[in-house]
Symmetry: C2
């Protein structure tokens, strides 16, 4: 037996704030791409970073993306939020620094939780590292709309 | 420090076989949708099920979808596979039964792993249950291509 219910906007925001790992979907020319991302949520925006490549090309072409985040607590149940918004690269130095700072915090929490020694976690400087000739891209997704669902088993 | 490498096709298949939970992306009319799915992998196809609604409408409109699956073993590293393929609903009774059987097996394993009593796990019959007037849809994704990546930290 299970009970399904909808999360209200406050509950969606609470989930986005409490988590830091989700799956991003982007699409261009009828093609679709899904990838895991570590993110930070602040002021109705999702901050994340990556390196130039196929997914950045796609998001530059079609900035309408979505992020799905779930919190699974089985056997009790799960909550899931999906938000849609517009991809924006952070190039303004102050905004870029803020994005990098928020992300470095999330990475540090994540590495700590996963049992790594904390010096493994990316620092703000590491978030601008060029990998295999591909520059780092810090971006945010300005959320337009979101929806959430909870399922409780019992 | 980290080392990145590409997974070969056999390693991609091994990951898809050993996991049973991933994230599916679909797109129609420039919109994109990401959702978590429990799946079964067999003979170069992904089996999953859902209920009629927005995502089924999208996949009927544009059957080109992708599934991303990751196996995280931090602090050591992670592996991730992304596969693209064509959505096909299973309506032929023998194929439908096979799909339901494969999925019921995966759900049973999942519930067991998550500590639920096994009678909670969906049985083949539960996979045809109509929820809120929405019929169940069992489908498979016939894989066209896939790519995989491994990152090792040390």
């Amino acid at each position: 037996m299970h009970i399904s219910s909808t999360l209200n906007p406050d509950e969606c925001r609470t989930l986005l704030e409490s988590e830091r790992y989700g799956h991003l979907g982007c699409t261009a020319d009828g093609d679709v791409y899904v990838l895991p991302v570590t993110y930070a949520y602040k002021n109705n925006a999702i901050y994340a970073y990556t390196h130039e490549g196929k997914k950045v090309d796609m998001m530059r072409k079609n900035p309408n993306v979505c992020l799905q985040v779930e919190k699974v607590d089985m056997p009790k149940g799960w909550e899931s939020v999906i938000c849609w918004g517009v991809y924006e690269e952070l190039t303004d130095p102050a905004q870029l620094k803020e994005g990098q700072f928020l992300l470095a915090e999330r990475f540090a929490e994540q590495w700590k939780e996963r049992g790594a020694i904390t010096t493994f976690s990316p620092l703000v400087e590491d978030l601008s590292e060029v990998i295999e000739g591909r520059p780092a891209v810090v971006y945010r997704i300005n959320i337009d709309r979101m929806t959430g669902k909870r399922r409780t088993f019992g």
